[in-house]
């Protein structure tokens, strides 16, 4: 019987082993802080209905534009609504749209990308469509889509997803094109594996790592695009508080009440920064080439 060594002692492997494993496990100070911030924001938003002191939609003519006080933690807006309650509640919709857009674009992009990567004929057609989609500015396309579908959470998710899908498709396609040249894929074909089996069992798992990374970036950019759309008045309807809506409303009172824009803006920036930082960390861990550069 041939012996199987548990670990081989070639110099190169020992060296890479030494550096890669612990690096993947301790993720560093920055990403840890980012994770804490993100978890805090998500919890604050999700649990908002259970702890906010005021109904975020309830107007109060007696308490317009109040400064921060014991009653109103961050003061009130021109309609007398509690800014704190509105900002944390607004995070719910913003995050929902961010995560929703990321999941939908990754899922749709994965499906189309697999087909484009595997079938030559489909590839040339699909990629031309994707190229034309990428030629249209994302924001304009999103505004047009919302205008067509009417302002709702679903239509905003769709409007953000459509411009993102081509990027995911390109990514998946390129991974599939590289992986299908691997001998183990050719061996699977020689073993008589059917096309769906080769595609789903051999090729698709190669796309997961880059997709996780891409997903986090899409999530961050979706939250930002949602805010931009709301700010332009092309987002979800104005009764629903989102970070973008709150800032859009606060625009006219910005000079006497900067908090109207500052607090939702701060939440938005922190949230996106945290997600992007975690995305970078995921990439460093999942993509061995980036890891090497660090060593």
């Amino acid at each position: 019987m041939t012996q199987i060594p548990s670990s081989r002692h070639s110099a190169f492997q020992v060296v890479t082993g030494l550096f890669s494993v612990p690096k993947a496990m301790r993720i560093g100070v920055g990403p840890t802080i980012a994770a804490v911030i993100l978890v805090a924001i998500v919890l604050a938003a999700v649990l908002a209905p259970y702890y906010v002191p005021y109904n975020p939609l309830e107007m109060n003519a007696m308490a317009r534009l109040k400064p921060p006080s014991d009653d109103f933690l961050l003061g009130t807006d021109p309609y007398g609504r509690d800014i704190f309650s509105r900002v944390v509640t607004g995070g719910r919709v913003s995050l929902l749209i961010g995560v929703g857009a990321a999941v939908v674009s990754v899922a749709v992009g994965l499906l189309i990308g697999l087909v484009a990567g595997y079938f030559r004929l489909a590839d040339s057609i699909i990629m031309r469509i994707m190229d034309s989609l990428m030629a249209i500015p994302a924001i304009l396309l999103a505004i047009a889509l919302v205008a067509l579908n009417g302002p709702s959470v679903t239509s905003v998710i769709i409007a953000i997803t459509v411009p993102e899908v081509p990027r995911v498709v390109r990514l998946v396609r390129s991974v599939v094109l590289t992986a299908r040249e691997e001998p183990y894929v050719e061996a699977a074909i020689a073993l008589g594996s059917s096309m769906p089996k080769v595609l789903l069992q051999h090729l698709m798992p190669n796309t997961f790592a880059p997709l996780i990374v891409q997903g986090t970036y899409i999530c961050a950019s979706a939250i930002l695009i949602e805010a931009i759309l709301s700010f332009l008045g092309a987002g979800v309807s104005t009764e629903i508080p989102t970070w973008g809506n709150i800032m859009a409303e606060g625009r006219s009172y910005f000079q006497i009440k900067p908090g109207l824009i500052f607090w939702p803006g701060l939440m938005l920036s922190l949230c996106i920064l945290a997600i992007n930082l975690l995305g970078d960390t995921a990439r460093d861990i999942l993509d061995p080439r980036m890891k090497k550069r660090e060593v």
């Binding site: 199987i4 060594p5 081989r8 061996a187 073993l191 008589g192």
Partner: protein, 561 residues
């Protein structure tokens, strides 16, 4: 055969390594990578460092160049004395001055060692600009002179060429010119011919020894190929697991090796003496290839282009239990033939009949039920198994595709593991937990699981160390005998072909130039190309396994070096 036999005892000692120990940086307790290396090289001497992968050959050369990867490996003891300069203590600035002037290096893959966006002439000149104060014109004249010395044709044109416009051999000549232009005392050559075809390899080996004679350079030559060692070495050191196990003049090492490891290593080297062909079976042919043709590209939409004719008019048959070898250099079309027969690519024309069915013209879907009759083993054992799958899953994939139940397939997989001499309980492990040779065994088991009539081995042992190579060849032989499989063996290595093939087919530029029994083709080649190939095979007159010259040397004369 003639060995080099010059005596170097009076020559000046260029490099003296004593007790060199290299270990993992920051981990003094871990096993060292080099354990006390002693090495001497004298002016004009070629010292070969041989050993299997992971033995520490390259680490030794990198240490001598002062190029150990920082933060990963560090010198833990010993000394490296390059004509009075202690390299282990040298500062980075000192080392930079030493490199190129006193000590130079050439690498295995000249394409990656050259800068792809600079003209090669400028790259050679840059060495002069950095290390000397010649004027531009003088530097250029010196560069052109050096390029002529390494026998590059049409020097003015090549001076202005980019690396991708040159052949592999020309690129390696550029590397040699770059390494030798400042006339260093020591040249370190790390597997410089491994990526080259055998005829190009011969030219490069000749060039290195010519340059060595002209400049009196000491050469430290790192290789895994015993044939190359036999051709060029004055003295040899055999390395194993970070130690030098034996160091001796070439003749002494090849005729009377002292250490067991050296013996084992030499005995694993296949010799060029072809095997006796097995009696042709009475059974009908497993595979008949008739007029197979493969053209890549061509027939453009606006402008009809010729396309690349990778294989033309290939005809052969193989009977059960026999092996046909296809040999040739890179670009000869041998792999194209293998892939066309496996229908991994669709042949442009011709017939391929396997187990009674014509498969060349079937659609992918029609082909599916016939796939089990022919299987393939690839060259690279690190890429031919899905890294995310356990061995069991890989072994069961094929049988399950053809309707075997999972339980039966698992049982069969366990039997296969024993057949290829691996423990049953290794079924649950992943490919990265195995060595290259073990993975190749698994790949063979996966192919055999289909009970094929034909096994295509596409350079299946080329990526393996010679002792592992011998084991895998034995395994293929066993499998063939046990199941009466016909085998198509693609290789660039004539030694391997001589050991395993009954018949040999020689290809050049997509055309079959010679086809016959292995004994006849290798002993009495009729075509010039075959003759060139055999002449270029390094160490072809020596029977390494028996420590003596081959009785029956191929009648072609003069492997001149």
């Amino acid at each position: 055969m003639e060995f080099k036999s010059k005596d170097f005892t009076d020559a000046k000692r260029v490099l003296k390594i004593r007790g060199l120990t290299v270990g993992l940086a920051g981990r003094p307790k871990a096993d060292p990578v080099l354990r006390g290396i002693d090495l001497d090289i004298r002016a004009g001497e070629t010292h070969c460092l041989v050993g299997e992968s992971g033995s520490g050959k390259s680490v030794t050369s990198l240490t001598a160049m002062g190029l150990l990867p920082k933060d990963a490996l560090e010198i833990q003891g010993g000394s490296i004395d390059l004509e009075g300069i202690e390299i282990t203590q040298a500062k980075p600035a000192q080392m930079r001055a030493l490199r190129a002037r006193r000590i130079a290096m050439i690498f295995q893959e000249p394409m990656t060692a050259l800068n792809p966006v600079l003209r090669v002439g400028e790259q050679i000149e840059e060495v002069l600009n950095m290390h000397s104060d010649l004027s531009r014109a003088e530097a250029k004249a010196r560069t052109i002179d050096m390029m002529e010395q390494v026998h590059l044709p049409d020097v003015e044109r090549i001076y202005a060429a980019f690396p991708h416009q040159l052949s592999g051999g020309q690129r390696q000549r550029i590397m040699i010119a770059m390494a030798l232009i400042l006339d260093p005392d020591l040249l370190i050559a790390d597997e410089p011919t491994t990526a080259l075809d055998v005829t190009t390899q011969l030219q490069i080996l000749k060039l290195i020894s010519e340059m060595q004679e002209r400049h009196g350079t000491a050469v430290l030559f790192i290789t895994h190929d015993m044939g190359v060692v036999a051709e060029i070495a004055d003295t040899v050191s055999v390395m194993q697991k970070g130690r030098i196990v034996e160091s001796a003049p070439i003749r002494q090492l090849l005729t009377a090796p002292k250490e067991d490891y050296t013996r084992k290593l030499l005995q694993a080297v296949p010799n060029l003496d072809p095997r006796a062909p097995r009696a042709p079976a009475e059974a009908r042919d497993v595979i008949t290839v008739d007029g197979l043709e493969m053209t890549y590209g061509g027939g453009g939409f606006f402008r009809a282009s010729q396309g690349v004719r990778a294989a033309q008019d290939v005809n052969f048959t193989i009977q059960p239990g026999r092996t046909l070898g296809i040999v040739g250099e890179s670009g000869s079309g041998k792999s194209t033939v293998a892939r066309a027969i496996m229908r991994l690519i669709d042949p442009t024309a011709g017939k391929v009949t396997v187990a009674g069915t014509e498969i060349a013209q079937l659609s992918r879907r029609q082909l599916q039920p016939h796939r089990k009759h022919f299987q393939i083993v690839f060259q690279d054992p690190y890429r031919s198994l899905n890294p995310r799958w356990t061995v069991a899953r890989s072994l069961c994939e094929g049988p399950i595709n053809f309707g075997t139940s999972r339980a039966d397939a698992m049982e069969h997989a366990a039997e296969l593991m024993e057949l290829v001499d691996l423990p049953r309980d290794a079924l649950d492990r992943y490919p990265h937990q195995f060595s290259g040779g073990q993975r190749q065994r698994i790949a063979i088991a996966r192919a055999v699981a289909m009970k094929p009539d034909l096994l295509v081995a596409d350079e299946a042992v080329s990526a393996l160390d010679v002792s592992v190579q011998a084991q895998v060849l034995d395994l293929l032989d066993d499998v063939q005998e046990k199941f009466g499989i016909a085998m198509l063996f693609i290789t660039h290595d004539l030694r391997v072909a001589a050991q395993i093939c009954d018949e040999v087919l020689v290809m050049q530029k997509g055309v079959v130039v010679e086809h016959g029994l292995a004994g006849e083709v290798l002993a009495a080649p009729r075509h010039d190309y075959t003759r060139n190939l055999i002449e270029a095979a390094p160490g072809r007159h020596w029977d390494f396994a028996n420590f003596r010259a081959l009785d029956r040397t191929p009648p072609v004369t003069g492997a001149t070096l």
